[in-house]
């Protein structure tokens, strides 16, 4: 689904060159749920923005769903973002001027979908995140957890194959974080590929695979099923 080889990303300013990613290799299979962890400034967000075609990279190769993306023009990249990728941001990033319904509608309109289908999908995805009754509310009238669920509904409405989440629970308390995590696990069970950046080891442990990034490079910690089980059990014990 998502394969990066020897990928590098350099941020150039007048004085310094920062390698946000260097010789970065990762291969996320279709249907996987990968948690990305790492210290602050290690390059997690950078990786996600490149993976989500929000940004270009400096060197190496990136195949998304079998397509080498570095040759795509801006419009083609927009189309892929719109149709294949769902984004969930730490800061929710709902559009404050629009109510919940209109927010979820944004990516569907860019896809040129008919009004009836848009409405159906919006209501379905709101149902999914348990906010069907809040369709007419504005983001400012919702709690952080509710806003993040709207953001997830927005990402879901387009039925993306790949869901990219950058610290989706970073701004939420434990209770709300757990709700969001359960939602992601549901979505994963239905076949979506999920890549989630998180600082929370408990949440990371609930993913199928953990990828650790240090200084812009991947360090695979564990693909050991036992490691996974232990942490999952610990999580259950907490709940």
């Amino acid at each position: 689904m998502l394969k990066m080889t020897h990928l590098s990303k350099v941020y150039r300013t007048e004085v310094v060159e920062t390698y946000a990613l260097r010789d970065f290799n990762i291969d996320v299979k279709e249907g996987e749920f990968v948690a990305v962890t790492g210290p602050s400034g290690s390059g997690k967000t950078t990786f996600l923005t490149i993976a989500g075609l929000l940004e270009t990279f400096s060197g190496g190769e990136y195949h998304l769903d079998g397509i080498e993306v570095s040759n795509l023009n801006d419009n083609a990249r927009s189309k892929i973002r719109n149709e294949k990728i769902g984004f969930i941001f730490q800061a929710f990033n709902l559009i404050p001027d629009l109510n919940v319904f209109d927010n979820i509608e944004v990516p569907l309109r860019y896809r040129g979908m008919k009004a009836a289908e848009r409405k159906q999908r919006i209501m379905d995805s709101l149902e999914r995140v348990g906010l069907a009754s809040r369709a007419k509310h504005y983001p400012a009238e919702l709690s952080g957890g509710q806003q993040q669920r709207v953001a997830i509904a927005r990402a879901l409405a387009g039925s993306p194959r790949l869901l990219l989440a950058d610290e989706p629970t970073g701004n939420l308390d434990t209770q709300m974080a757990r709700g969001v995590m359960e939602l992601l696990e549901d979505i994963h069970r239905e076949g979506a590929t999920i890549v989630m950046v998180t600082h929370d080891p408990e949440l990371a442990a609930r993913a199928q695979r953990n990828v650790h990034i240090i200084d812009g490079q991947v360090v695979e910690l564990s693909e050991d099923p036992r490691f996974h089980t232990v942490h999952a059990a610990a999580g259950d014990a907490h709940a």
């Binding site: 929000l54 927009s78 189309k79 559009i95 001027d97 209109d102 944004v106």
Partner: protein, 418 residues
């Protein structure tokens, strides 16, 4: 297609939206009316007098110690002096024709009266038609370049003279086509008679010229602006005016030769810089206020349009800055650059649309107010429609630069901290 979410977002930005819409409405109302007024002025300034204005100039001069025009003897002496001047001017090389005249179109000096079908009619009574007289001689038509459309020109035998304050019968006259049509709507004015200024003596119309404006361009003369009457009579007084037509290209040379020639006839006269004037100067002076007014209004319109355009640029730039992050989010969610560009363009079209609708109402209202308080006619639809289209175009032009800046916000903005 994408109207609903744009409208929804605008509801959250009421103040700016309303202000810009109002600004557009006011600008449209004022500019429409101002351009209409300018258009009217331009039309007024450009209307032909009926004269062939090129190669035409006017001499206005005064004798010093001239005989009195109040007695017959003085009038005869004055007439002799005038005929001497005319002869001297007609002999100048480069001169095509010379005619004495009390005034010319666009000159701020006129002799007006009224003509009627009946003898002895009350001045200003019903059935009277106002007219302005040009007292001149048989060279009037060739000097002024008037086009005879019916009848005949004056001949030397038609020409009389009188003291400028005297009354004298007017056996013949040439009138303008407009006056002829007014007097005799069935046509064929030539050979018919009219009575001028309440006289009992008939005036036979011997000719009709295509067009001849009266001297006054003020609003009081506007009801009879084209009703002119040419009387073949030299007016004798201490003051005389001569219209001179030169051969093509000789205007300047002849104008320079006028003063020496007239001084040679007699030095006892006043001729200053203002005494010899090309017709172009008379025209420029007559319409100076109109042109000044039109230019002033044009400048005001330009300023208004610039301020409105600047307002749109300012507000849109502000909104682009404010929505920087949500633009990034939209890009992340799949908006192409062109979608973002269109968003701001459509948004502007909506605001400007409301503005112009309101502006049309205001423009018509302002026009109606001007009609009741000033001399103003109904504004033609064309001006309003053109104004609306121009306003919308200015809106789109003004919004383009900030909108393009918005479309260049990279999608990665969505991930930047709030």
């Amino acid at each position: 297609m994408k109207l609903h979410p744009i409208l929804a977002a605008l509801r959250k930005h009421k103040a700016g939206t309303v202000l810009i819409a109002l600004q557009i409405a006011l600008t449209l109302a004022i500019v429409c009316n101002a351009v209409f007024i300018i258009g009217q002025r331009v039309e007024r300034v450009n209307r032909p007098t009926g004269l062939d204005e090129s190669n035409l100039f006017l001499v206005s001069q005064q004798w010093v110690g001239a005989p009195s025009a109040d007695n017959a003897d003085g009038v005869e002496k004055l007439d002799a002096m005038q005929r001497e001047d005319l002869a001297a001017l007609r002999q100048l090389p480069g001169v095509a024709a010379v005619a004495p005249t009390n005034s010319l179109p666009l000159l701020n000096s006129s002799w007006t009266g009224s003509v009627s079908h009946k003898p002895g009619a009350d001045l200003g009574g019903k059935g009277d038609i106002r007219t302005a007289y040009y007292f001149t001689d048989e060279q009037a038509l060739s000097t002024l370049g008037l086009r005879l459309v019916a009848g005949r020109n004056f001949n030397a035998g038609d020409v009389q003279h009188q003291g400028f304050r005297d009354q004298r019968d007017r056996p013949v006259a040439i009138i303008s086509k407009a006056l002829a049509d007014k007097l005799f709507p069935d046509g064929n004015a030539v050979g018919k008679v009219m009575y001028s200024d309440g006289s009992n003596a008939p005036t036979t119309i011997i000719g009709v010229v295509a067009r001849l404006q009266i001297p006054s361009i003020g609003s009081w003369g506007s009801s009879f602006a084209w009703y002119s009457t040419l009387i073949p009579t030299r007016l004798d007084g201490g003051f005389a005016r001569y219209a001179v037509r030169t051969k093509p290209g000789q205007l300047d040379a002849v104008m320079r030769a006028v003063a020496p020639a007239l001084y040679k006839v007699t030095p006892m006269r006043v001729l200053d810089d203002d005494s010899v004037k090309p017709f172009s100067e008379i025209r420029a002076k007559a319409y100076r206020a109109d042109i000044g007014m039109a230019v002033l209004m044009g400048v005001i319109c330009l300023i208004l349009l610039c301020v409105t355009a600047a307002g749109i640029v300012g507000l849109t730039s502000f909104w682009v800055g404010q929505r920087h992050r949500q633009i990034g989010v939209r890009r992340a969610l799949g908006a192409r650059k062109i979608d973002i560009l269109h968003y701001f363009q459509i948004e502007n079209l909506l605001i400007a649309g409301v503005g112009v609708v309101l502006g049309v109402v205001l423009a018509v209202g302002l026009n109606m107010w001007l009609m009741t308080h000033y001399e103003m006619t109904r504004i033609p639809l064309l001006y309003v429609v053109t104004g609306v289209l121009a306003m919308l175009a200015i809106g789109q032009g003004a919004v383009f630069v900030p909108a393009r800046r918005a479309s260049n916000v990279p999608p990665v903005e969505a991930t930047r901290a709030a």
